[in-house]
Amino acid sequence: MSRPENAVALVTGASKGIGSAIAKSLAADGWAVAVNYRSDEAGANAAVKAIEEAGGTAKAIHADVTSGDGKALLKQIEDDLGGPVLALVNNAGVARDNIVLQLTDEDWDVVIGTNLTPAFRLTRDALRPMIKARYGRVINIASVVGPRANAGQSNYAAAKAGLIGMTKTIAAEVARRGVTVNAVAPGFIATDMTADLATDEIVKAIPARRQGTPEEVAAAVRFLASDDAGYVTGTTLYVDGGMSA
């Protein structure tokens, strides 16, 4: 089945880095894109401007996905962009790293409450219009961390592994309504989140011997959101230069 003409894509946490690249890539593929942000309004506006200059349609949407009403957010986007959200990219995320012995309850809760719980809530709420349309794409941005160990990130690993497990089960629940649910697992990508890490040392352990780019992650999302990926569901696509190999 083909994507309905007025379909909208919502990308959470899209003001910079991977989220911004995903928003631009989906817009280039013809989606009207809701560029969600929590605090970086300038970043979201820059992404919208870049999309519009390239001939696409987008709107910056302010919302804190860790709280608030998902249904109201989806309704607002439908009103603003003229169609239902039929692609949801759960990208919003934070890291609060520490070795488990020193990891606080707060850092655990913030990471689970930002990276995992909003993805569940928004997916649940967005599935409604998708099932009605018999067309939908949910793409969860997971990580190579989770399936793979990374000392200092037990909270992040739990959230990302949780996303992958959730992806598989929801995919199985809704597959026969034309809705696919997949995950993309980036490896070491050059973004603000990884800017402080010891790049040279980490890169030595990556088979491709380089960091990935946000655009390379976005290309995987673009594929999974496309009509061509209609029979791909419940899977995790690693974009990690071979880290998980």
Partner: protein
């Protein structure tokens, strides 16, 4: 704007919705069980959405889990909506 809840209206909504899930129209009666009609939990969740959109009555998972027949579903909507 939610529609008025009458037995006739709700029955019409349910009868019209079920064929979307592959149910043969001729098999739909108030006494027919969802199991016999091969209507599963996803179908019932979608039926609940249709009901909520039409009548503004939200059917929770616990409520939906208890219903066995088409008539049970119609009665539940009327009970919740009154």
């Amino acid at each position: 704007m939610a529609n008025a809840i009458t037995e006739e209206a709700v029955q019409k909504t349910v009868y019209e919705a079920l064929p979307q899930f592959g149910v043969d129209e001729g098999d739909i009666t108030r006494e027919a069980t969802f199991e016999d009609l091969d209507v599963d939990s996803l179908d019932l969740a979608e039926l609940s959405q249709i009901i909520e959109d039409e009548y503004g009555v939200a059917l929770k998972g616990d409520d939906v889990g208890k219903i066995k027949t088409v008539g049970d579903a119609i009665d539940l909507v009327i009970q919740k909506g009154s």
